[in-house]
Structures are given as C-alpha cells and as structure tokens.
C-alpha cells in the first residue's frame, strides 16, 4: 500500500467526516482528562513524598508501650552511638501544639542547633541561620502559615505558649521562612530543643525519638535486628518500611479510583460500540465502492483501523495535554480538595511535574485497548461489505 496516497486519502476522509468523529474525540478526551488528572496528582504526590523521604534519616528509634509512643530516654542515644556502622545519631523533640481557637495545631520541632543533623533539610536550615543571635533568648523560626495565623490573632512578634505545668512561655519570632524555600513546612515552628521540651512537657532526660543513619544499605536488616535487641520496648522503623506504607496508601487511593472509573469506562465502550455500528453502517456504500475499485478486505481493514488509531491518539494527546496543564500549570483546582481533603491549615501545596512513563502507558492501555476492542466488530462488519453494494 502506498503510504503517501494512503495518508492523503485518510486525512481527506477524516476531515470530510469530522462531524461524525468530533463528538467521540471530545468525550474520550474528557474521560482521559479526568483519568490522567487523578493519576498525575497521585504520582506527583508520591514523587514529592519520596523526595521528602530521601532527605529523612534512615532509622527512627522510639519507645513504644502498648502501641503508643511514649517519651524516649536520652541514654538510648549513647547506646546507639556505640554500635559500629551507625552515624549521625540525633535526638529529636517534636509534637503538636493545639490552640484553643478554631482547634488548630502547629508542629513544634525542637532542634539541637549545635549538633550535625541527620535530616538534610534541618542541616541546611541551621547553615542559613545566625545561630548566635537565635540562641540568645527564647526564639523560634516559623513557617508562613503559622505567621499568618499568629498575625490574625494579634501575636505580632511573639507567642505565649501554655506549658503542661500551667505556666506561660513567651517565645519571640526570629524569622519567617517561606514555604517555597522547601526548608520548613507551612505549619512548623522550629525552636531550640530545651525550649521545645518545656512547651511539650518532656523532662530533661527525655526526647520524642532518636534518629540515625546507616550508610551501608546492605547492613540495614542486620542493624534493625541489632538495635531492636537493645530494649524490649524499643521500636525501630527504617525508611524502607515508611516507603512501603506510602506505596500502599497511594496504590489504595489510585486503585479505588480506577475501579470506580471502570464503570465509566464500560459505559463508554458500550456507547462507542453502538455509535460506531451506526456511523459505519452509513458508510457501506462508500466501502462497497472502494472494494469494487480493487481494494481488498485487508486494505479496508487497515484503512479503518488507522482511522480509529488516529482518533485514539488524537483524544489521548488532547486529554493528557489538558490534564497536564490543569494539574501542573493550574494546580488542579477542585480536584486537589478531593484528593487532599480538608486540611488543618491552608497548605500552599504545588504539584511537581512528573511525567512518568508507566503512568502514561497505563493511561494509554486502560483507554486505547477497550476503545479499539469496542470498535473492532463494527470495523470488521463494514470492511467485509460486498463490493456489489457499489452497484445499488
């Protein structure tokens, strides 16, 4: 078959019959748009979470009693340092501080500013801060969301925390860090570790948990085993466990959506089947003519399938393109609320553009395969039109 003449003829035919195909392309593109948007959002969130995870310490050790985290004794830190192969052992103090008004809470993070951090972002944050000035008196670094909230409640330069003992602790705002800097979350308050202890009610010898890194990944399993044997109520979690639970969570969300989507998809295929049965039956005379002029059934099949493929690809590209713009350029208004749910603080989350090969293939398969399957029988039916039809 001559490729040039074939494509020329195909384009002419498609253009002539554009009104027949347009509605199919529009509906397909819309369905694809919805599907791609959701998958783009979930793969982008997943990507961001993995990125976040990358900078986190490898292991977290805490004391768990009755399934609930309780303050971890600081002496465990010394035991961990003694284990060969362990580096960057860091104690952490953090917790949620609840405000009376509107039941909002912020994350308080206590940091030992004089030690090297196992969390890469904290390490960067310390490098950027004038430590001397910061440690001079009760001061904290806050995220943008916190700052906005405090401003709205008449706390311009400081805030009075209520400690578990019932005393007030006045802390000055040293600096506000914008979310875009990626160093601090929107709802975070970073302060010296002793100050955080006081506000969160930890004693001198207690921390929330202890983190450390193990540079050699081959030793991770062995290390988990070893550290876990230190104390009966010690729980150790490594990055891989966290990653797996993220993976499961997003599979769960995406998978549930896909299964709901199947209902839409099967309706769509039924509509396609009927529509193309109708469209093609009106073409019988033309096909008969082609057959009378010497086109074989194979030629007609090839012609009709290429026509279908053009429609499939056109709507695929349209749908994916608009979804990309919607999610990554416009930030997915509406859908974002559905996906992330009502959040504590208005979070200025932006989606990192990720064009994942597997997501694109999955979208293509779940859409193109049923599409072609649905029009296959109508295509066959019209392709085997007897050339006699041209004589009628």
């Amino acid at each position: 078959m001559n490729a040039n003449a074939f494509w020329h003829f195909l384009t002419l035919q498609l253009f002539k019959e554009r009104s027949k195909h347009l509605s199919v392309i529009v509906i397909s593109a819309m369905i694809l748009f919805l599907l791609s948007s959701v998958l783009f959002i979930s793969s982008s969130i997943r990507f961001s979470l993995e990125e976040t995870l990358k900078v986190q310490p490898d292991f977290v050790v805490s004391r768990v009693q009755g399934g609930i985290s309780v303050p971890t004794p600081m002496i465990w830190e010394d035991e961990l340092i003694d284990i060969y192969g362990v580096s960057n052992v860091i104690q952490r103090v953090y917790g949620r501080y609840f405000f009376k008004a509107k039941e909002r809470s912020f994350l308080i993070v206590g940091v030992d500013f004089l030690e090297e951090q196992s969390h890469e972002n904290l390490q960067k944050l310390i490098a950027k801060t004038d430590i001397k000035a910061f440690l001079n008196g009760s001061k904290m670094l806050v995220g943008e969301g916190v700052k906005t909230y405090l401003d709205a409640h008449f706390y311009k330069d400081d805030y009075n925390f209520l400690t578990p003992e019932g005393t007030f602790e006045k802390v000055n705002i040293f600096k506000t860090l914008p979310f875009q800097s990626n160093l601090i979350a929107n709802d975070m308050m970073v302060m010296p570790i002793d100050l955080a202890r006081k506000i969160l009610g930890y004693s001198e010898e207690e921390v929330s948990d202890i983190t450390f890194n193990v540079p050699n990944p081959d030793e991770w399993d062995m290390m988990t085993d070893k550290v876990s044997a230190l104390h009966y109520d010690l729980q150790v979690v490594n990055k891989k466990d966290v990653q797996k639970s993220y993976e499961n969570l997003y599979n769960y969300k995406g998978g549930l959506f896909l299964i709901l989507f199947l209902v839409v998809l099967s309706t769509f295929t039924l509509i396609l089947y009927q529509r193309y049965s109708m469209v093609y039956s009106s073409e019988r005379r033309n096909i008969g003519l082609l057959r009378a002029l010497g086109w074989s059934i194979n030629d007609v099949l090839k012609f009709k399938f290429t026509e279908t493929l053009v429609i499939v690809f056109a709507s695929y590209i349209l749908g994916v393109f608009f979804a990309y713009v919607y999610v990554f350029v416009l930030g997915a208004p509406l859908l974002k609320e559905v996906f992330l749910g009502g959040q504590n603080l208005q979070n200025t989350l932006t989606f990192v553009p990720v064009l994942d090969f597997s997501v694109l293939t999955s979208i293509f398969l779940i859409y193109a395969l049923p599409f072609i399957a649905a029009v296959l029988i109508p295509v066959w039916r019209v392709s085997v039109t007897e050339p006699k039809e041209a004589m009628l």
Partner: protein, 167 residues
C-alpha cells in the same frame, strides 16, 4: 564453501555433543535427597557434600545435623533443628516421618523426638536449639522446641536473644 558447509555443521555438532557428554559424566551435584531408605534408618552423612533442604546451605558438621525419613523411604538432610521444623511444617507426612538427630553431647544418631534441646546453643542457623541425648538444666523437649520454633521464640528473634544471652 558449499561443500565445506555440511562438514562444518557436522564438526560443530560433534563438538557440542562432546562438551555436553563430558560435562555430564563429570557432573557431581551435592546430595539433597536420598531415596529407598525403607528401613528408615539414620544414613551416614557426607559432610560438606550434602545440602540442607530448607536453607540450601551445605552441612559442614555432623553435630546437630538431622535427617527426616518419609514413610516411602525418601530422606532429607538438615544442618539445624530449626530448619527441619520449618521445612516439615507443611509436609503431609509430618506425623509419620522418622526424624534422626546427631547429638552434641553423646555424638550419635538418636530419635529427634526423644532428644532434649538447649535454648541458647550455637547452631548452624543461629536458632539456638542444640540436640542432646540427656536432659540437663534449661533443656526442653521436642514438642516444646517445635512450638517455640514455629512461634518464632528463638535466638533469631532479637528480643528473645536479648533476654537469653543479654545482647
């Protein structure tokens, strides 16, 4: 060239067959299972030439090694009582199998079900159950050992290891 081709083909075929046959003749695979042990006796074990059927490791010492003989005479070998328990669990002949273990105190094959097991011995796979003919302090019987193994209460569990050995 045309005439040479069949000769060449034959030459290559012969080389291939030769390689395969020579290799097959030399082939010596370690023992994993022995058949026809109808009397269900303890067989002599070839150290460093027999594989544990569960963990696939070579059996390097006779002490504390085991043999499981199924009623049809098939015999499997193990380097640690723990391995044997885990392997046996889903077998249909679990109850009817004859199990031999080589003791660490008297150096002989005895019925594993009559042996006494230490709980913090040094064993090949670090489960800690060393087989003895005679009962001493802190030893447990076969069914207790089996239960602890299946429950995971052995030295491979860090919390248990800490309790028993202190590390």
């Amino acid at each position: 060239m045309k005439k040479l081709l069949p000769l060449l083909v034959i030459f290559v075929i012969i080389s291939i067959i030769a390689i395969i046959f020579v290799s097959m003749a030399k082939d010596t695979q370690p023992i994993t299972v022995v058949k026809n042990n109808i009397q269900m006796k303890a067989l002599p074990i070839k150290v460093n030439f027999t594989n544990d059927s569960y963990c696939k490791m070579l059996i390097t010492t006779k002490r504390n090694s085991l043999q499981v003989v199924a009623p049809d005479g098939k015999t499997w070998f193990f380097d640690d009582p723990g391995c044997m328990i885990l392997w046996l669990e889903d077998k249909s002949f679990k109850e009817d199998a004859k199990i031999w273990v080589y003791t660490i105190d008297t150096d002989k094959w005895i019925d594993a079900k009559t042996a006494w097991y230490g709980v913090k011995d040094k064993t090949a796979m670090q489960y800690g159950f060393g087989a003895r003919e005679h009962k001493i302090e802190d030893t447990i019987d076969f069914s207790e050992m089996q239960l602890r193994m299946l429950r995971g209460e052995n030295l491979a569990n860090p919390k248990i290891r800490k309790k028993l050995l202190g590390t």
